[in-house]
């Protein structure tokens, strides 16, 4: 074992995934099938994760490469393992481990296991392959295989109309993205077909076309990652899949897309120009704000999570945009901070988003409900799940001392370095982006107060919610692992930053200063006088003061407690329907920000005094991107299809006229040819 190259092991892992997937086809319907399948996935992902981690922390600049006689015949299938791939391998396989573990428990409730089990390992294999691929063909092949496998998973519960629509929109957008990437690679490879990444790296983008390649790469990877306005499929597709698959899609697959963007923009495209940052920053910031704002408007808990993924992807792209801006101006140290922030957030988001989707899955199994309006009071019925979901919510809301804050703090530090940029466009743009980032973070907190508060707190709004039971131990274990990791990454950010450093080094050429040597494990991105943060101390501090307060009060004063009916200003109402709902919680923000983002229209009908009929509030929310971008496109296709469809119903004579007409045209061309 020891003398095996890590790359070989990883490739064997992928093969093992594929074999598992093949085995799962015949045994898919058997009741015990989830044990071998998820067990194998768990094991394989574990091994892959370990090897990725080993390569990453070995800090070696060695990149393992190999070429297999597959794929494009005269190019072969190139595979390469460098620190960047290794980092993403860790992220993805960590998600794979957690999802497989969760699947062991959650899979029991699956009504159609034969539609999940074969595709689950295939999906994992596809994502791993993307990270290792080192030529355009292998990359796109893996990329699309990943899409195809996840599409099949989205279609698991195909009996529901909504899921079929989700699958369709998903696969169409995936295909669009792949074609965009294909064009990008086509430009990079040139007419002679230099499809190997090594060739592209050596040649760079054709002169003058680098911007076009970047735009295509942004379209291609952005459609998979969920950048606005290419995100429409994401909130449909991610919730449609079984929850552990949703976790993989949201927490992990979007990261593969980010990997794709980094690989193209930072590694293959050659020297970076500062202006590339402009579109990336704008798109990222808009994505962040619109994503979380949409999340606030949702009632389906998994859809809330999906929209929140869009927000986080926006944040990561903002960080990458900053890195482009700095790198384009040769400010490598600042670029290293930005990229570190991006990669850190990649890891963090994969952890807490998987955790949250697992939690949503647990709620779904316990109550059969995804609509928050029918939940409530679950914290009393499912205390462990509730606690873990709360940890995830705090983490994703970027609150200290959990991990979400650490990475967003780094991002803000990178933003604060922007005044040193020479370009005015960037100088003015980046503060605005920073403000949008802050807005997004605050909205995220509001969003998760709402999500957690409505689903887990208050009183049960339905019988299903009041009869909920805690989920099985395996699911809890999977969530607990992620929650602990969230906490650890939050209070020891220095370790993560140092672990990520080789990856940063490979794409930026430099890295952030070593953090683990700094006293007390603080993180100091630039210099101590500028800014520093110590998650551990903050955590200890809070824990100590809270304990002190508990101790002091319980000892020195009263510890007595009495349960009584709720006070509610003296008007307690027995019906749970009088509680604040998800919609009413969002109302203030909807009114303030929804006006221009969603053209929200509220109509209130209050009956006259004496009239006993109920008052009505009618809220219409428009998805403007869908209405202004996609609906016209759909209409256009429909109109063209309708118009052209007449050509199916012509008479033979008219068809002959078409032939005749073409003949005449060609003859005319020939006659006018000199």
């Amino acid at each position: 074992m020891t003398n095996w190259a890590p790359l070989d092991v990883l490739l064997w892992c992928i093969l093992a995934h594929l074999v598992t997937s093949g085995v799962a086809i015949p045994i898919g319907r058997v009741s015990w099938a989830r044990w071998p399948v998820y067990g194998a996935s768990l094991l394989i992902s574990g091994v892959a994760c370990a090897y990725g981690l080993m390569h990453l922390i070995a800090q070696s600049s060695v990149a393992w490469e190999t070429v297999l006689p597959l794929g494009l015949p005269w190019i072969g299938a190139h595979f390469r393992l460098d620190a960047l791939s290794a980092f993403f391998l860790v992220v993805i396989n960590l998600g794979g481990v957690a999802a497989s573990l969760y699947g062991l428990g959650y899979g029991r409730h699956e009504s159609a296991p034969e539609r999940v089990l074969p595709f689950f390992p295939m999906f994992l294999a596809g994502m791993n392959l993307v990270l290792l691929a080192a030529d355009a063909f292998t990359f796109l092949l893996s990329w699309e295989s990943m899409s195809l496998a996840s599409w099949a998973l989205v279609m698991t519960h195909h009996q529901e109309e909504g899921n079929r629509k989700a699958g369709y929109v998903y696969i169409a957008m995936a295909s669009f993205g792949t074609l965009a990437l294909l064009l990008a690679f086509g430009l990079m490879a040139g007419p002679d077909g230099g499809y190997a990444f090594a060739t592209m790296r050596a040649d760079g983008a054709p002169s003058g076309l680098a911007g076009l390649v970047l735009g295509l790469a942004l379209l291609g990877t952005g459609s998979k990652a969920g950048l606005v306005p290419l995100h429409v499929w994401l909130p449909l597709a991610h919730p449609a899949a079984p929850s552990h698959v949703s976790a993989l899609m949201s927490g992990v697959m979007t990261k593969v897309a980010i990997y794709g963007f980094i690989r193209l923009a930072f590694d293959l495209l050659g020297p970076i120009s500062w202006w590339w940052a402009v579109p990336v920053l704008i798109v990222g910031a808009v994505t962040a704000v619109l994503g979380v704002l949409s999340a606030l408007m949702q009632n389906d808990i998994k859809r809330v999570l999906a929209y929140s993924t869009i927000e986080n992807i926006g944040l990561i792209f903002v960080a990458l945009g900053l890195a482009l801006a700095f790198q384009g101006n040769g400010m490598t140290a600042a670029a290293a901070v930005a990229v570190t922030a991006a990669l850190f957030h990649v890891l963090n988001h994969s952890l807490f988003k998987s955790l949250l989707f697992f939690g949503a899955g647990a709620v779904l199994t316990a109550t059969g409900e995804r609509a928050m309006e029918n939940l409530g009071g679950l914290l009393n019925r499912m205390p462990t799940t509730g606690l873990l979901f709360l940890v995830g919510s705090v983490a994703i809301s970027a609150l200290p001392p959990l991990n979400g804050f650490a990475s967003e703090w780094l991002m803000l530090q990178a933003i604060l370095l922007s005044p040193e940029l020479p370009q005015w466009a960037l100088k003015l743009l980046i503060p605005a982006v920073g403000a949008m980032l802050a807005l997004a973070a605050a909205l995220a907190a509001a969003c998760f107060v709402r999500a957690f508060g409505i689903s887990f707190l208050g009183r049960p709004r339905s019988a299903a919610a009041s009869n909920a039971h805690e989920v099985d131990r395996i699911s809890i274990a999977a969530m607990s692992i992620l929650a602990v990791l969230c906490l650890l990454a939050g209070i020891f950010p220095a370790i993560i930053i140092d672990a990520v450093a080789p990856a940063v080094q490979t794409i930026i050429g430099t890295r952030m200063p070593v953090q683990t040597d700094i006293a007390w494990l603080s993180i100091v991105p630039i210099a101590e006088s500028r800014s520093s943060y110590n998650g551990l101390l903050v955590f200890i501090f809070i824990a100590a003061s809270a304990s002190l307060a508990v101790f002091a009060i319980h000892w020195l004063a009263s510890a007595k407690l009495r349960r009584a009916p709720a006070w509610d200003c003296g008007f307690p109402d027995g019906s749970p329907a009088t509680q604040y709902t998800a919609d009413s919680f969002a109302q203030p923000l909807r009114r303030v920000l929804g006006g221009f983002a969603f053209r929200v229209h509220e109509e209130i009908h209050v009956p006259l005094p004496g009239n006993g009929s109920p008052a009505r509030l009618i809220v219409t929310v428009h998805d403007l991107i869908w209405e202004w971008l996609y609906e016209p496109l759909i209409r256009l296709v429909n109109v063209l299809a309708e118009r052209l469809n007449h050509l199916q119903f012509l008479t033979i004579r008219r068809y002959l006229s078409l032939v005749f007409g073409e003949l005449i045209i060609l003859l005319l061309i020939l006659a006018s040819w000199t």
Binding site: Q648, F649, L650, T651, I652, R653, R654, L656, S657, V659, F660, L663, I664, L667, L668, L670, A671, W673
Partner: protein, 220 residues
Amino acid sequence: MDKLALDIAHFLAGSLVLVSLMLLYQDRLPALLNVFAFQAIILALSVAWQAYVQGASDLYLTAAITLSVKAIIIPVALHRMIRRLGIHREVETAINIGPTMLAGLGLVALSVVVILRVTVNADVFAREDLAFALSVVLLGMLMMVTRRNAVSQVVGFMSLENGLILAATGAKGMPFVVEISVAFSVLIAFIVIGIFLFRIRERFDTVDLEAMDDFRGESR
């Protein structure tokens, strides 16, 4: 090949084009069939002349086939058919005869221009022969697309094919000419039989192709 032989060949080929234009002009089916038979006779003459000039005896066979099938058998058959169907009065046109004639003249001009432009290096005889043949082909096709009635479309198709035979016989030493003319005769026979069959089996009120494909693929 002496000059006279050439002139006769040209005269015959030119007449073919003229008769093609006459075909376009007809507004009654019986007259159309008669003109077509006339065209077939001219073609047979032309083929026979080529056979004589080129000394290619197999072309006589082609001439004979043309004469027997196109000038006699098929016109007679079609005559009987239109009488049985009672559609002998009028040719149903998609575009009026006037514009069609103009279009036909345009097509002749087009073929002349095309041939003159593309065959700068070819010998004169081939060029002129080709120009006539192309004109006949195009006029035949024009007939097919401007007539609604199946019988006149068949006539159009046969006239198109006459152009092909003209071209083939004009191309000196071309093999398979006889085979080709046989193949085409079979094709035409198929078409004629097809029209008969459809009428008998499906009881179309007319042999108007438009009425026949009211189904046209998919119900809409």
